[in-house]
Symmetry: C2
Subunit: 311 residues, 2 copies
């Protein structure tokens, strides 16, 4: 049976899976994205990890490699200035993979891969117009219109994370001020918590946490009814909801699908996002756009989507 | 020879043309959109105007009618709550046309029609990813990605005019605050001029104009070096340029093409728009997106685009 190797390179972990044409994952795993001084070392480590599987399935049975990565360019096969990856500059990723694995490799950005995964195997099956939003280290997005992923003329479409949500706002990893990603991402919500804890003299469960607060801890505190945590989610949701209300005017999607660490907060995030989105939306779109959470377990959407690039 | 009847319904005028498959306009003209108490009266007046042409070319030689109109919906054939048209509510326009003209009728929004016109016959020939922006009474837009117009799941995609450009800003015709269209349109720039003339005690050529100032007069004053007029263009360009920088992240277009009354200001508007757009844009898009003016004379882009719906 022919298999595609789907790889999702995230800011922290890199997940992989060997996937058949029906979306069944025959083997999967992950390695750390961090701790490799160069991208060549990283690909070498990934190659060592994957070689036993490739031997087992047979090199001739691997149809190709699909890779989703932040700032991955479908047309050029390059990763270009990804603020959330440890390596700088322009990385000819598809070529490096081809050289080491001797397999045809197709690259796209991680959120585009997740969108393909949802469309083929997940909650977006049958949808022709939707937006995929990944809320991880950064905020990634993939826009599907007329049943097709929008790549843009240069392969860089879908950078919703870098729409300015707050003019002259918080500094973003891209160097500009007030990007959506600086607020609505795991990193962004943690930054809000840290700012507010410093500025405010509030009694809150969050003060008891030791070391750096995580988005998961914020979610737990919100579930426990912590007022500051709830306020932080409300603030994050307001910024995200307002921006989504703006962006819906461009592609008028049937649904927006969330995926990634912060999306695991579920209703704690999505209920207020929905409220602010509807409050700010143009009347012709009111109560039409569904907010959904990816139905694919763990990092499967990204792996499946990356593998779908191959077929 | 088969001809398509292309009709562009604007806030002030309705232009029409009988167009062959090569984009040659065999007859054209216009009537006023205003002064008809109901949409039925308007279509009746248009029918009276067009009957001599239809008789001349032969009803059997008219392949159909393509209509571009503000808030026109491609899927339903309806105009829905168009703030810039004299008739309110939901208007079943395609059906009304079919009944009176006995010709198959396809509707889309005016900016989508203009985008099709530019793609088939104008400056966007050969482009697969671009944005059409019409700067008339309102601000309309048509987004083309992968060589296809984006209609969205409900036919209402491309309402760039209703992205919030200034939070809690000026009241828009849609009832919300701070929409791009409330600033960057013929109406918007005139509103800015009137506000500023009221608030400021500046010596300006604009004070000499009698009655309501027009966008054309503002352009003329700017060309004559009037400081206030230049400042008004700069302010309008800043709001438009910032919003375009945001929106480019969604579809990563090759070009943005401007059309309509305010677009006739040419470089007076586009030079500062380009400046502010580049200042605010994410680095991966810098110096990549062309700003162009429609190359089709007068309202031809909209007529040609509307006619292209038929083929």
């Amino acid at each position: 049976m022919m298999l595609a190797l789907g790889i999702d390179i995230g800011g922290t972990n890199t997940a992989y899976g060997f996937v058949d044409i029906y979306g069944v994952i025959h083997a999967k795993g992950s390695i750390s994205t961090l701790g490799h001084s160069t991208v060549d070392n990283f690909i070498e480590a990934l190659h060592n990890e994957l070689t036993p599987y490739i031997s087992k399935f047979g090199h001739g049975n691997i149809a190709g490699i699909g890779v989703g990565a932040p700032n991955g360019n479908y047309y050029t096969g390059e990763i270009v200035f990804a603020p959330n990856l440890p390596w700088r500059g322009v990385l000819p990723l598809a070529e490096l993979f081809k050289n080491i694995f001797a397999l045809n490799t197709i690259l796209t950005n991680d959120a585009n891969a997740a969108a393909l995964g949802e469309m083929k195997y997940g909650v977006a099956r049958g949808m022709k117009d939707f937006i995929m939003v990944t809320l991880g280290t950064g905020l990634g997005s993939g826009f599907v219109a007329n049943g097709q992923l929008i790549y843009g003329h240069d392969g860089f479409a879908g950078e919703l994370g870098h729409v300015i949500a707050v003019r002259e706002g918080r500094k973003c990893g891209c160097g500009r001020l007030g990007c959506l990603e600086a607020y609505a991402s795991a990193t962004g919500i943690v930054a809000t918590a840290e700012e507010w804890l410093e500025q405010r003299d509030t009694i809150t469960l969050l003060r008891e946490r030791k070391g750096k607060i995580s988005a998961m801890q914020l979610h737990k505190a919100a579930l426990e009814g912590d007022k500051l945590a709830l306020e932080i989610f409300d603030y994050t949701a307001k910024i995200l909801g307002q921006t989504l209300a703006d962006i819906i005017t461009i592609t008028s999607p049937q649904a927006i699908i969330f995926f990634g660490g912060l999306a695991n907060s579920g209703d704690t995030l999505l209920v207020p996002v929905k409220k602010y989105m509807e409050e700010n939306i143009l009347n012709i779109y009111k109560n039409k756009v569904e907010l959904l959470i990816s139905s694919l377990p763990g990092s499967d959407a990204a792996i499946l989507g990356a593998s779908a690039l191959v077929w």
